[in-house]
Amino acid sequence: MDVEKTIEEYIRDAFEIGDDPELTRDTHLFDEGFVDSLGALQIVRFLEETFSIQITQKDLVLYPMNTINEIAAVVHEKI
């Protein structure tokens, strides 16, 4: 499975971003206003269900998960 692609498609769809070219895989999702803090919870739920992984409190505190690539990096660690 292409982790990056799966995550990007989900984010574009769930947060109604569509094909806006300003969103890249290195865009800060929160600083650039594509996703709000409640959306972060949605993303983590999506990751846990889709990839059958557990994202722990330590992961959340230790790893930046602000861009699609950063989120994907955490997923790659776990699968």
């Binding site: 650039e32 206003g33 594509f34 803090s37 409640l38 972060a40 919870l41 983590v44 994202i55 722990t56 409190q57 959340l60 505190v61």
Partner: protein, 511 residues
């Protein structure tokens, strides 16, 4: 003499090896905290203007052990600390700095870089925490300064939203903190076994409860990483790992934990005291907590930033049905709450009035803002005999026959969102700084709990791009959740935007 530092020193003597504060990177015992803050105080004193008292020092650090050590260091120099949100927009920070006129800003390397790269003129010394704590302690100098202090000296300045578009710095005294802490220690049985789970930022006055509740007793304060509050299912295991038994959280967090269903799966097993304040706590979510954790003590607290944290409290002592309002309760000791009607007379039982507060918990005013201070901190109109300063909260409430205060709402354009106090005026003033914007009006939609901004603009706007620009001036929690572009506004006879009419048009379009 009678300062919060004297109280802290008592604890250091009694419990030198207890852990005082803990974050994700480490912890400090009371002895360490005392030594580190003493060194930093020595470093700060060498930068203070000679012979001057009560010089504020701004602290711009992430929520961490370092913040607490810095606050204590500033207090040891005899001046008030000014906590600044590490996420604050730099332009807002700059206007706060200009108004406060601090001797210096304490920060870390990232913070200093951010301030330097901004190209803004900060007009004050910027010092690294890491360097200050390497300074030579000057115990004779700090002792001299504290000996000369009086308990009405300012201890901290915290900022709150202002309708003019700029935040106001509320000044709180040592006396205020000590009285408040004495009450909470006694009322909730706080002692050296208490482990606080800090939710609040240090720029938000709720943290005063956790911080002085522990510093005055030998208890521990665990700084819960902010990110965990977005993930309730991860938050509870963390609390258990750290054995947190006491929390003081905003209802938003209590609600999100209740709604997540996590309490049905895993319980915060050490938790015994659950306090909340900052906005209305709905009984429905409180009931979820009470069902899961029936043996905890629950209390609803109330107080604006302009007084020392809280002036009313209610220990939940009976069942509440899901839709029922929870009282904000009775007066804290050393606070007296007066409900005043529009004509200045005292409201009777069941009658609505403005919640006004007297007592030594009342703040000393807004720093460097004599006019705003005179307007909000006034002579108690019922007292003609001597000077008695009363703070008018702008909140409306009434008292039940049992003497409990019930919260009704606001008198003006202020509201609370996720525990943050927001003036619509501040959003409006700053929105005008966004290029292309001609006129704006902000409304708060209580139903969807979001800020709706009506904009008349020359250019096309999207919410995301608009907020990207607005975020330079105001904190994220003030950003509108919806943008409505209008051709023009409805006006009233004074040529002001007719908020009532605008609200009706908006609501009719919604449905």
């Amino acid at each position: 003499m009678n300062t919060v530092i004297a109280r802290f020193k008592d604890t250091v003597k009694k419990f030198p090896d207890n852990i005082a504060v803990e974050d994700m990177d480490g912890s400090m015992t009371y002895r360490e905290l005392d030594n580190v803050s003493e060194a930093a105080a020595g470093g700060i004193i060498s930068l203070l203007p000679e012979g001057k008292r009560n010089v504020p020092v701004m602290v711009y650090l992430p929520r961490s052990v370092a913040s607490v050590a810095s606050f204590l260091a500033v207090l040891k120099t005899g001046g008030p600390y000014v906590p600044v949100d590490y996420q604050v927009p730099l332009k807002r920070f700059l206007s706060m700095t200009a108004k406060v006129g601090p001797a210096l800003i304490v920060t870390d390397e990232d913070g200093r870089e951010r301030l330097r790269d901004s190209g803004l003129d900060w007009g004050t010394e910027i010092c690294l925490y890491g360097e200050l704590i390497q300074a030579r302690p000057r115990p004779d100098e700090t002792a001299k300064r504290l000996d000369g202090a009086v308990d009405t000296d300012p201890a901290y300045i915290m900022h709150t939203s202002g309708s003019t578009g700029e935040p106001k710095g509320v000044v709180i005294s040592h006396r205020g903190i000590e009285d408040y802490a004495d009450w909470l220690i006694e009322e909730f049985g706080i002692d050296e076994t208490s482990v606080f789970g800090l939710q609040s930022g240090f720029h938000f006055d709720n943290c005063v409860l956790d911080m002085y509740g522990s510093l005055f007793t030998g208890g521990k304060m665990v700084i819960i990483p902010e990110v965990l509050f977005m993930y309730p299912t991860k938050l509870i295991p963390f609390m258990n790992e750290r054995k947190i038994n006491t929390v003081f959280w905003v209802p938003t967090v209590m609600i999100s934990v209740a709604n997540s269903g996590v309490l049905g799966e895993i319980r915060p097993e050490y938790l015994s005291t659950v306090l909340f304040a900052g906005e209305v706590m709905p009984a429905r979510q409180l009931n979820v907590w009470r069902r899961a954790m029936p043996d905890c003590l629950y209390a609803n607290l109330y107080g604006p930033t302009e007084i020392t944290v809280d002036c009313l409290f209610y220990v939940v002592d009976r069942e509440f049905s899901d839709g029922e309002a929870i009282p904000i309760g009775r007066d804290c000791p050393n606070s007296r709450v007066l409900l005043l009607k529009e004509d200045g007379s005292l409201a009777g039982v069941g009658e609505e009035g403005e919640i006004c507060v007297v007592g030594c918990g009342v703040g000393l005013g807004y720093w460097n803002e004599p006019e705003l201070t005179a307007r909000a901190f006034v002579q108690n109109p019922l007292n003609k005999k001597y000077r008695e300063i009363m703070y008018r909260t702008g909140d409306i409430g009434y008292r039940t026959a049992e003497g409990l205060v019930m919260y009704v709402g606001r008198r003006d354009n202020q509201f609370k969102l996720r525990g943050n106090r927001i003036e619509l005026g501040e959003i409006e003033q700053n929105s005008l700084l966004v290029p292309g914007v001609e006129r704006v009006c902000a409304l708060f939609d209580g139903e969807s709990q979001e800020i709706v901004l009506f904009v008349k603009a020359k250019t096309e706007l999207t919410l995301r791009k608009f907020n990207l620009e607005l975020k330079k001036y105001i904190p994220k929690y003030m950003l509108p959740g919806r943008l409505v572009v209008v051709e023009d506004f409805p006006y009233n006879r004074n040529n002001k935007i007719d908020r009532g009419a605008l609200k009706e048009i908006y609501l009719s379009k919604e449905n």
